[in-house]
Symmetry: D2
Subunit: 485 residues, 4 copies
């Protein structure tokens, strides 16, 4: 692997697929801006005061058109930005090109190898001699993970001189992480230590990444403050739910053109993502079966007319399988062998371990026929019957389509901007310790409010008398913290 | 008013409309039992050990068929029970008769006056010389209110000899409460004091009642422990949402037979109740417009294709108006005057102050034409155009139909039983202080689990490995406390 | 049976349940008028010219509030009217009372025996010495049937002196028909002959009744012209579909209060009625399974995400069974024995032979427990498990609720009025032979147009240029005759 | 224009974009075959007897993957085939390449100019010296049009020596047609005459093309028999409805990535196509407004909760506009000027004259910004606000996505195969005159039946007794001809 960083005429580093797509990317960014009122409002409200002046922000988040609007919002508020994608298939190359040319250092392309992926992550975190980053925008927690693992290795190395051993794990991806850290240790044994000392904090936006943060908080190993953006209502109840309701069928259609009506769809997991997926399939005319471990979510599915069964019950009858659990080992190769010919198997959870790709790839005699990028038919030798796997088991909405649409990402990303501002503004006050925080409800409500006008909505105003009657301020927040929406 | 308590042959007190309906009530109770697996499971699991042995439970909760199954579950676990309804129109007289005859002391009938209502509440709280109640099952908090107001008056009376003055308020209903307390003070100036001292706690199941409890907790005036059953997921996200989705159209149809398809429906408030109502109207083919004060709920409505406007914007174009806010003064007489002829106005929130009935009743020249009980046409003199008001502005699903169906009430009431058990079992441990508590998540999940079998659902089991991967116990609870479902 | 005809002070005959309900009926009729713009427009447009002056109209059609508005529309246009219901459970007694008191001769009450039913039909057809009727409004074809059977018997009697033998059939209901005819033959052996000679025609509004008419046309036995109102688009695609979508859940709720969400519903037949029923159950949160004989309708069901199986496949797993086929022997007693405890079995097709009530009633040891009128639990001795049968297997939406709502019935009944006008106006032109006709499309479109304003709709106008481009008149009709909507 | 026909090694003619995509096309064809059970059944049932032996079939129908399966089915039954697309944007280049390489003479590529389009049509009709075609498969009627116009010109030329004058019309496309005919006249003045004499018939599958045929039948100018495949239930009620429900959002997403939820969508026309489009938008969370000229369709829209207004009422508030009328001049440039910035304007009706592209293109100062192929932003100079037009006003689902999915096209195309077989088998019997026919219902039902197994459906069988009761054969057809489904 000899990946070379390139530079723009202005000297900014980047590595993208094709710089000639920058104009196309710019046009789509301009369209997206109209759909992202929350981010554009941030530019209007905060742009003039340049609150991020001096801040170096590293982002590890799907390098899409919507993310481009986020990046340029951070830049418009004064930040310097370096970026990588958080998934090997999720980059939109025209978006990456436009940003690389115009606004920030980008290291991302669609179809990275895992080694390239971690190289990109490392590049995004490397601010050179001046040091940095000050802030991290994370999605899934890989940037955060690399720093934590790097710092751990540096501590160990300082104490014992030992370097990480990639062979200590059989997780192929983690081997790469350890290799990168090991290789860097000799040239600079304090790189991650300096980073964690400088870091003001991270804002993280996925269920999966947040879970990692809470575990680190529980273990006492969290190295810097974190804001859990995922659990803003305007994130998890919007992007996860309505975003997936939009992008699951989009991915299915672009990848396979299959008619959804009349089919049997199985949705593994009925959390926010699963609810969006099940709704999408049902609305498109499929019959939907849900698998769940949680009796409450299962009962919700039943109340919507969905059947709740186990994967084993339905594996040989269903046409479309979607994993949304955030857990591992959901669809195993033994399940896949029992499926109907050309059953579609895909994942819309953050990580790719929901589907047993390893089991599939190593199944004796299995044959992989690539229909087109991110759409593979795998044929089992015994049955001569095939299944269609999308995006190699990774996030199918980003791998096979363009991810969530701009409007809902504007909600998520406005939370990110607000979280980043909060961390940066409070960097000297000690307000945030090495813990995980959620944004206060009035900011959550503000994010929503910024998105109403675009849709022509008019809010009702509480009278003082009414507000007193239900004991809330006229201007909100309108709900107690535990309210579930 | 000369209401006389009657007695069964066994000597149990009651006051119901028509004891001859007891057989009919019993038949419907038997049907309901089949639909209420949670309650029936409680009987199976806890019945043999008679955990409520010695407990005197007063309930103030719509005296319906479903409540009958709750009451007989409490009785089956060993409790002695006295009951009143928490709404003047919500009693089902055959249910009341069956319970009065067979199981508990009941004071309730459909169409009580407000004075009768509070008389019933007082009766349900009056356990005679032996004292009681030990526990309260509350809905809307009226039983709790009476004790708190009673105790306050007794304190004042002891200190200063002053009795409450009904004329100190112009709330007609509160005047009645004060009158009752005043009249009782002389004969027994320590009645409520003894009550509050004996009381182990209350479990409360509505948004509205819970709000009152939190306010008392905040003010430091809460007199005994309270369990907020409303905020169990299996209560507020089920009964409020799916219950109303069922019972709103039921009430509309029974009261007016109006075709919902093609109509314009306005739902004031898009909380759980509002979500259920809006879904019901939309599914029935109405065009739905939501009014909201909370931008987050407003944005949720928009994502479902509902329009969000103010009442003023649509008052003269809509056909059906439903209030679900839990706030007061939502639809005022000035709104009603501008409505289309025969627009339907109804409330499904707990209290009847969402609709300005007082303004309507006192509007000069207004004419009330009772189509049938709980369905009135009010004609304005200036336009000669009328509106149809359901259940006199009170809970229309209970006033005009039979409330939520058994299955979803089984979820709510199983929470009630579990909460009552928890309070009673811990009565001597000091676990519960004079605060408001919610049930722990594993009990919430248990309630859901008890309802899956009836619907033919099969849960997936986590492997130990998977459970460890997402850091939860194999047996749950499966979600963090803040999870929103 | 000694049924006595009563008379109003004005001398008009009637037989209803309770004349004291007339005021209540009047109030509901007034509400319904606001919801029936088509009929009210007919009064405005045609009332002044009294086109039905001299016409005697007999109707055999569910004596509901909506029908009351139809009757009074016919009367407002100059007709004299006699009426009976076409189903033993479908009369609304307050509607019957109001009409009997104010507008027409009515013979109908809720809960007739079959003998009473046919007595009523005979009364409605008996215009006394002056003769009549001139026109028939029919629903299901029972009035038409009686005349055809009567005439057949009279022919036979004249030729051979033979009278009909009720024992020649084992259809219990048809025995009654033959008895009535036989008993009348002696006193007046030309009654039906005179009737058929005078009759200008019939307009029939159900799929079932229309099928009978086409069979008679095919056999050459049709005695007078018939207009098939059922196949007006504004009838079968509205009343059958949207009416049942409304009234199926209404009937289920009123009869059983059962929660529909989460249940498995089986809809036998996926025609217009079945489509409405399946949509209603699905929207309410049930999982719906369709049974069909017709592959096209089956494929439609699949495209809506419904499962298509046979009754045998699902009989022991479903919770709610609805027959909509217009065929007989759909749910047999052997099916019912295999159902879950308290499974609900009901029919919304015109005749009661879709459910094997005879098999159920005569099943050895079966026990019938009447929960309330039209809601029976039948318990099988072997399993001690019961099923709930609605309206004794007859039209459950009329037996257990109030039938279709006014607005959609306004469409159907405006077609009836127009058909009656057409028959009457052309009575001397020979335009209509002894055949079955449908209304021309421009009248069908007119019916629809009369209902748009009430719902706030605005039509787009074709330009002349556009109309020419698609070769239709600017004013319509807009579609070719075979268009399916 | 110098378009050159190319030849495969086997000597078959073609002109496609890129032969190297043939392998990719083949893979997708294989996937589609699994989704097209109707066509595959035809191969199984009829393939062995080679019924099309000797038949030369020309098709003018979107050259997609699904059409490829149709073409290869015709070939598998013995036909020789030449093909062109019936829309300049609808060809899928990989499908065209695979067919050109493997199965038939193809003249089609995505993004033809209008001149190229008609060149392709001419090529597809030109079977060389041996003559042909024998049969035409048409979509929109352009192949049929060319023959009819060509024959008309040849008649005129023979009589008067006059050649067509392209300047006699100002329809730009028709000028091209006339030019082609004129240019061919001299070299071969009997080409179309020979064609029409040889032609056995055409099967046509769109509403638009069928309308043309009925007009020609009415005028007496139809030159050969035609089967109207569009009005098979399994065509117009499936492909038009469920196909568009699938492919409208697909096209919107691929072209713009816009979030549909929360938006206001306007659907012009509520026929089968409009119903599918409106359903799709509503299900995706948009608020949908319908414009209609036909009161019946308008009332249907209202019953589904859709608002019915005129375009003028909503032009400045809506976000997405879709034309489905089959009429012209629906959205004019003056409408477009009033739209919101970035409103999306698209057409899913057959022809591109629903949207006033000419008015837009020639609007003074208007600026066209091509975001990507088939997605253009048009900016008006006065407002500096832009609208987004998809596929240059042509069929957006084929221009921006891949058209209808395979399963539903299998229904449509099985009708085509059956129609072609019928025409060919009866070519000598005189069964078909120069008129327009629809397929008999039993064939329509057969098409449906062939598609049930794939979706796991099981039909119920009528008993003889039941069949007799409703007077239909046990094996169907199950419905009268006028039945509307």
């Amino acid at each position: 692997m000899a990946l070379l960083v390139e530079k723009t005429t202005s000297g900014r580093e980047y590595k993208v697929k094709d710089m000639s797509q920058a104009d196309f990317g710019r046009l789509e960014i301009e369209l997206a801006e109209v759909e992202m009122p929350g981010l554009m409002s941030c530019r209007t409200e905060f742009g003039p005061s340049q609150p991020f002046k001096g801040a170096k922000i590293t982002g590890s988040l799907h390098m899409t058109i919507q993310t481009a609007v986020l990046i340029e919002t951070l830049a418009a508020l004064g930040a310097e930005v370096r970026w990588c994608s958080c998934n090997i298939f999720s980059t939109q190359d025209h978006a990456a090109a436009a940003i690389a040319r115009d606004s920030a250092a980008v290291f991302a392309w669609k179809g990275e190898t895992l080694q390239e992926y971690w190289w990109c992550t490392e590049r995004a975190l490397d601010w050179g001699p001046g040091g940095g980053p000050d802030l991290i925008v994370d999605d899934g927690g890989d940037a955060t993970l690399l720093i934590h693992e790097g710092f751990k290795a540096e501590e160990e190395y300082e104490k014992t001189g030992k370097v990480p051993d990639p062979n200590s794990t059989d997780n192929a991806e983690f081997q790469i992480v350890l290799t990168i850290i090991r290789d860097g240790l000799k040239s600079d044994p304090k790189k991650y230590t300096r980073m964690k000392e400088r870091l003001v904090g991270v804002s993280e936006e996925t269920t999966t990444g947040v879970k990692r943060l809470y575990q680190m908080q529980a273990n006492g190993t969290l190295l810097f403050p974190a804001i859990n953006v995922n659990d803003s209502v305007t994130k998890s109840k919007f992007d996860n739910l309505y975003g997936c309701r939009h992008s699951l069928p989009d991915g299915l259609m672009r990848a396979t053109d299959v008619m959804i009506a009349g089919k049997v769809g199985v949705v593994a997991g009925y959390g926010d993502v699963g609810k969006g997926c099940a709704a999408a399939l049902k609305q498109a005319g499929a019959r939907v079966i849900v698998t769940e471990i949680d009796p409450i979510c299962a009962l919700q599915a039943l109340m919507e007319g969905l059947q709740v069964l186990t994967l084993e019950d339905v594996v040989s009858e269903a046409d479309i399988f979607v994993t949304t659990t955030g857990n591992k080992d959901i669809i195993m190769v033994d399940h896949m062998r029992k499926m109907k010919n050309n059953a579609i198997v895909c994942n819309i959870g953050h990580f790719d371990n929901e589907i047993d790709m390893h089991g599939l790839e190593t199944y004796p005699g299995v044959k992989r026929i690539t229909i087109k990028p991110q759409t593979d038919r795998w044929v089992f030798p015994d049955t001569n019957s095939g299944i269609i796997v999308l995006a190699e088991g990774r996030l199918m909405n980003l791998g096979c389509a363009t991810g969530h649409p701009s409007f809902v990402m504007s909600c998520s990303f406005t939370n990110q901007v607000i979280a980043q501002l909060e961390l940066w503004n409070e960097r000297k006050t000690g307000k945030y310790e090495k813990k995980v925080y959620v944004l206060p409800k009035h900011l959550d409500e503000k994010v929503a409010a910024l998105h109403l006008g675009k849709l022509g909505a008019k809010l009702t105003k509480l009278s003082k008398d009414q507000a007193d009657y239900i004991s809330i301020p006229v201007e909100g927040p309108y709900k107690p913290p535990h309210y579930r929406y």
